[in-house]
Symmetry: C2
Subunit: 224 residues, 2 copies
DNA sequence: TACAAAATTTAGACTGCTCTAAAAATTTGT
DNA sequence: ACAAATTTTTAGAGCAGTCTAAATTTTGTA
């Protein structure tokens, strides 16, 4: 029942969870995990055997892995903690959105159900983290976000900026430097066929060009 | 210069720091550390060698250990983090003072100078933790507390309750159950010679008896 | 379909931290 | 002063998590 799950095991489970949700809900390969965690493939294989032993994953050698229900619950709890702590760091301690990820990587492993419940309440039971990612509730339920990258819409018009695909410090800082933050209104005024760049007005400000690379990492909803 | 100090090593340094301050600033023995951390003496010897190697302690086999300046700075930083997090848990998340120690034992190892500086500011740069223990400042300076256990005063009169010696959950809960909290005024009305118990009025409430054991774990200052 | 390339696992080793059992050093008591 | 008791260290081992090198399995393509 009450198997102890180490910090390292939590990180593997979170990696498998994240990787399996990148596209569909598919199986995750050893090399994918190895790349994601910066460990060697042999190390990953070793850990996969231990996680399977603990019934946290379904593992068939050479065939990739999937989380069991127990593994999924564990992973999603880590994600919940990570995102709640990020909200704390930004909302309460005034960190910038590009500064919080590394600290949250540590805080996500603090083990106390009471703590996380009280933190959630203290923060006003937020539904999204500072990057627009949904925060799973205490039961592991997650708002499915139907947002799509800006460049996939292929139409002019009004959008709301609700999240990012890319979470790197440099990308987040770039968005800050062009004056873009979660919740802003984007008006796409032109789309250039040849390179998929677009001319965009942020809120009521001057228009500027977004490269396809930028537009592909900005998640938007069509503005009602 | 920038030697990495593991969570385990931090706990050893904190233990040595705490034990060396119990009475005077004396050397700490292998068995003291072993008792304090619930590790075997052989395990401690092993770790002492590694800490000495990293210049965090002065270690002479069979003669006990002392922190180096670097070791002391590391230990005191952990203590600072522990106590700041306890303030956070009590002041912001409404935990009771007997519920926070175990969680702070985890949080004290989160590694981010920026985080601790912002947390300190967020909490209003507190000078004491929920148990009355002083919080070292960012430079490792600590208010020396001149408080003395109630039973050592041996005189009637008015005192202020400023801290506890014993930090166990059961003792803290006992104090709560008799309605005693940090900052309360204690009026010692009687002292019984034969068992050193005393009759005490808390603030303006009814008087009650404190056993010597209770009185020996309550730190007070004479009320001005 | 066969075979080369890529992915994955196995084998063997190392570090950090822990243990037990035994040896050595120190302290204590008479 | 010295034997007994206590403390501390040494020796040898195990587990978790990591690595490199080699073997094995799967995949993609000629
Ligand atoms: Mn993050
Ligand atoms: Mn995030
Ligand atoms: Mn504490
Ligand atoms: Mn405390």
């Amino acid at each position: 029942m009450c198997v102890i799950i180490s910090l390292t095991e939590e990180n593997y489970l979170k990696a498998i969870y994240t990787l399996s949700h990148l596209i569909d809900e598919s199986e995750v390969s050893t090399n994918q995990i190895s790349d994601h965690l910066n460990n060697k493939a042999a190390t990953v294989t070793d850990m996969l055997k231990r996680l399977a032993e603990k019934k946290l994953i379904h593992y068939i050698p050479y065939q990739g892995v999937k989380l069991t229900e127990k593994g999924r619950q564990t992973a999603i709890k880590v994600v919940r903690k990570h995102r709640l702590w990020e909200v704390f760091l930004v909302d309460k301690l005034q960190f910038k959105w590009d500064e919080v990820h590394e600290i949250a990587e540590q805080l996500e492993h603090i083990n106390s159900d009471e703590l996380i419940q009280r933190l959630d309440k203290f923060l006003g039971k937020p539904k999204f983290d500072p990057h627009g990612d949904p925060i799973p509730d205490a039961n592991g339920q997650l708002n499915i976000v139907k947002a799509i990258p800006l460049n996939q819409h292929k139409i002019k018009g009004m959008f709301t900026f609700v999240g990012v695909c890319e979470h790197s410090k440099t990308f987040l800082q770039h968005l800050t430097s062009i004056g873009l933050k979660i919740g802003d209104t984007l008006k796409v005024e032109e789309i250039n066929e040849f390179d998929n760049s677009c001319k965009v007005k942020i809120n009521k400000n001057n228009s500027q060009f977004f490269s396809n690379k930028v537009a592909s990492n900005i998640l938007v909803e069509i503005k009602k």
